[in-house]
Symmetry: C2
Subunit: 155 residues, 2 copies
């Protein structure tokens, strides 16, 4: 039912980058602060997304990360295969190592159709689409700022 934090951060970050003008590197620091996630941890995730061929990275001044050409068409499934590991959609609900049509757990038959729906949704949703949904202002990528709930703290 739940993605790892790593996956959540990765998807959030990628969508965020997709909302920015393409080609202009975005700083890890900026992404982390916008999403309100640990910068050093996010940096690790960004690294692995680079190795996964979704991002370009640039060091030094004017550095940062930006989407590889065409990466806007990347669907969530591809991203999650990177972050959750292959076969994350094949895992048995009850944890059986082998659970196929041939030899299945008692949930298998009813679970498969749902799994299919999930996969097709994940495959349908691309960074482009999600970024656009955010840009309309109808959907949000981050929690409402804490400042709305907590009193202002001056430095």
């Amino acid at each position: 039912m739940i993605l790892s934090r790593t996956s959540q951060y990765a998807v959030q970050a990628l969508i965020f980058i997709a909302t920015r003008p393409p080609g202009e590197p975005v700083l890890n620091r900026e992404i982390a602060s916008y999403l309100d996630v640990p910068p050093a941890y996010l940096a690790k995730i960004m690294q692995s997304l680079c190795k996964g061929s979704l991002l370009y990275s640039f060091r030094g001044r004017l550095g940062g990360f930006c989407l590889r050409e065409g990466a806007e068409k990347t669907d969530l499934m591809k991203i999650l295969l990177l972050t959750e590991g292959a076969g994350f959609t094949q895992d048995c609900v009850l944890g059986l190592k082998v659970c196929s049509d041939a030899t299945a757990c008692p949930m298998h038959a009813k679970w498969v159709p749902i799994k299919k729906k999930v996969v097709s949704l994940l495959t349908d949703q691309t960074l482009e689409k999600l970024a656009r949904a955010v840009q309309t202002g109808k959907y949000r990528l981050t929690d409402l700022p804490a400042s709305l709930f907590a009193p202002v703290r001056r430095t």
Copy 2:
């Protein structure tokens, strides 16, 4: 997409008990060895299922665990609420603390219907049904024994 190991063990164990004659306590040791899960860890989980009012426990000789009266009608949703914690079906895919119809992540709208399907499936599947499915022999609760793959080891 995945349940915690704790949840998987809990569900497996409960289904197993449901396949046994009601009222006759089943030993933790027996469950653990049948399911091939760590006995001491399973024992902890069994304890929490007792506290969750699904099981009776008996100490000493003729001891063990058995389903509480009517617990065969328990659906998976109830069990998972115990083991995963309340609101495990409400969590946002992207990890937002608040993600409702009012203020949502870009996946929310498409995700909600799937979540509903999952919940209704989990609510539909009771220990009784699952146990019966196993008893027909058509579905399995455990992995195929390793002895089928590994050479026999004599003691």
